[in-house]
Amino acid sequence: MSRVLVAMSGGVDSSLAAALLVEEGHDVVGVTMKTFCYSDTPAHGKTCCGLDGIMDARRVADTLGIPHFVFDVEEDFTRDVIDDFVAEYARGRTPNPCVRCNSNTKFRDLLERGRALDCDRIATGHYVRIAHEPDGSHLLRGHDANKDQSYFLWGLPREMLGTLLFPLGELTKDQVRERARALTLATADKPESQEICFVPTGDYRDLLVKRLGTVHPALEAGPLVRLDGTVVGEHGGYAGFTVGQRKGLGGGFPEPMFVIEIRPERREVVIGTHDELFADRVHIGELNWHTDEPTVGSPVSVQLRYRAPIVAARVADRGGELVLDLVEPRAAITPGQSAVVFDGDRVLGGGRIVRAESGATV
């Protein structure tokens, strides 16, 4: 049987993914990617790929009797993921580093190094499915709707899909834990990781200050304004805000206020009412497709945020950006987040949200 490289973060999901592949009789090689220098981070252990993650992954690999290696991808990760994360916040957007990592770093490295190790398949513990069909390989939403992670994988290069295995695609999280316990994997009851792996303090602004310094415009005070430009207060740096955010806007408004836009060139954080948060036209850049691209006028489905419901849309334009018109307006469409285009359960591709607007304004 072929040799499979499985990426093990040290969490229960990838641990079980490795175990299932071993059960199926594959020749399995486990790897953990070392993404940043742990000695610089005081509080490790809270996140998936920290130092404890490496140790947990190694223990599971030992239990399974498979070799385990650490891939040092610190340089690539810093450049492709952390630098981008910081730059996006500096531009007033809200990045999704997991998408960035999957698209640019993790899978490419796995594939390239996997080839060196004679591994013709790459596996991870993502809750997605992949169907290898004669007409190509299709990435599908995970069976467990609560855990589905297809949102994070639209950026995978199309030519790589044929090499991928996702052993957890048909399982629910509960089933994964149950099977991991039955196999007495050390990570069976490990809590879910919620933090961004390179922000162990849980507050990304600490990282921004470290990377940008406190005198950067993104971290300096600026005006809180209404859509019409009226200044209604001050904020402590626009990088601390994301579209849809309610906290940190001060009080004294007759109704609840939300961040509806960030204008970095004027350091403005635009706030408005819940109604003003809605938009029905989305501009999407940095596109990647797993299939032929949908043409202008064709109906598609789109997911605009992790765990958000899928929305019906129509391709309105395809110049430098893909423009989608949503069948019904959605709240808090956030520049920097991903827009993932589906056909039913199948991921067609996606991109990064550049901006959103109301059709009425066009």
Binding site: R3, V29, P67, F69, V70, F71, D72, E75, D76, D109, E112, R113, G114, R115, A116, L117, D118
Partner: protein, 388 residues
């Protein structure tokens, strides 16, 4: 073929004779050598015997041997403790070769980093020529604690320890030599080479891990950096590891007794591997080919490899256990400080360290060459682009 272990420079299995010698000290003769009663005396006797054995093996006196917990501790004690002793009398400096083990380099750089004295790093050429002029300059400024290894752990390159010693001595300094990779592979005798301090660890010579010694020539001083009881002349306080010392002594004696036959065996393996690789894999280089080298290491430079760690992993999966620079640094995929010091910055050049031991056979060497040439071709194609 069963997996082949060619990483004896990383560590070695404990010999049966060593294990046997150690065993009684785990239980029957468990006493504390500092106790005055018969249990203590029984342990003390074994410790004395071990010390005499080690001293005899390297041409020293028993009072010149301090047992410590391994090579890193021995190196650290020599560098920091030797410098401290010099610095008590006035300004002092440090000089180390650029290819020292990090257990020497790091404490040396720390002395400079904490502002206690200048540290000079002495260049070494791929032919094994040490920059003795710079050593001379450093030594002439102020008494120098110099550390020049007997044989390098990554390449086997042997440095001119005796010449370095005479330069250092002219100006009242101390010469330390890390002989962890040398003992048992080449003759190491402190009567022949006038080192002041010498470090050896057990696990490179089929002894136990965590057991080593520091030779301190009579009349030379080393200040402790652990404080407590008066064990080991107060230079290394803490209840002695009698079993470890006995195991170490047994391993040292066997290694020294067998050095001639063992080094002949190693040389044969090493010549065979290098000749075959040079013949079969285009573009490879033997690092330090023209230098005087200890015979248990072949460091092979491989061009057109973007990621050396992938190469080592691939070799492991095919059953050939080797390391890159040194095992302590494996996994980063980058050139080690030793390879960089010898050859400068080289793009797309990886290093494989093959190292041989008592159990290594000619068949294993041939197999390793076959696997290496196959794996190299695969890795070259696959990782093009990893280091984007």
């Amino acid at each position: 073929m069963t997996p082949v272990y060619l990483d004896y420079a990383a560590t070695t299995p404990v010999r049966d004779e060593v294990l046997e010698a150690m065993e009684p000290f785990a239980n029957q003769r468990f006493g504390n050598p500092s106790s005055m009663h018969r249990w203590g005396r029984a342990a003390r006797a074994a410790l004395d015997e071990a010390r005499a054995t080690v001293a005899d093996a390297i041409g020293a006196r028993p009072s010149e041997i301090v047992f410590v917990r391994g090579g890193t501790e021995s190196d650290n004690l020599a560098v920091v403790g030797g410098f401290d002793a010099l610095a008590e009398k006035g300004p002092a400096t440090v000089a180390v070769s650029a290819i020292e083990h990090s257990a020497v380099l790091e404490p040396a750089l720390r002395i400079e980093g904490t502002g206690r004295g200048r540290t000079t790093v002495l260049g070494v050429t791929p032919d094994g020529v040490l920059d003795l002029d710079r050593l001379h300059t450093s030594a002439a400024t102020a008494p120098t604690l110099a550390s020049v290894m007997w044989a390098n752990n990554e390449t086997g390159i042997m440095l001119p320890v005796a010449e370095a010693a005479s330069i250092v001595h002219e100006h009242g300094g101390l010469l330390h030599s890390d002989a962890c990779q040398a003992l048992g592979k080449v003759p190491v005798d402190v009567r022949e080479v006038p080192v002041d301090l010498l470090s050896v660890t057990g696990h490179k010579i089929h002894g136990p891990k965590g057991a080593g010694f520091l030779f301190i020539r009579a009349g030379r001083s080393v200040r402790p950096h652990l404080f407590g009881g008066s064990q080991e002349l107060s230079i290394r306080p803490g209840t002695e590891d009698v079993a470890g010392a006995v195991g170490l002594a047994t391993a040292v004696k066997l290694a020294v007794d067998e050095v001639a036959t063992h080094s002949a065996h190693l040389s044969e393996l090493h010549d065979r591997l290098e000749a075959q690789l040079l013949d079969r894999v285009p573009g490879v280089r033997v690092n330090g080919a023209e230098a005087r080298r200890a015979p248990h290491v072949s460091s092979i430079g491989v061009p057109e490899i973007d990621d050396g760690s992938a190469l080592l992993m691939a070799l492991d999966l095919e059953g050939v256990a080797v390391s890159g620079g040194s095992a302590c640094h494996s996994g980063s995929g980058k050139a080690s400080h030793v390879i960089s010091a010898l050859f400068g910055a080289e793009d797309r050049f990886a290093t494989i360290r093959f190292s041989f031991g008592r159990g290594t056979t000619v068949q294993e060497i041939d197999h390793a060459v076959d696997v290496t040439s196959t794996v190299l071709n695969r890795v070259r194609g696959a990782t093009a682009g990893v280091a984007r």
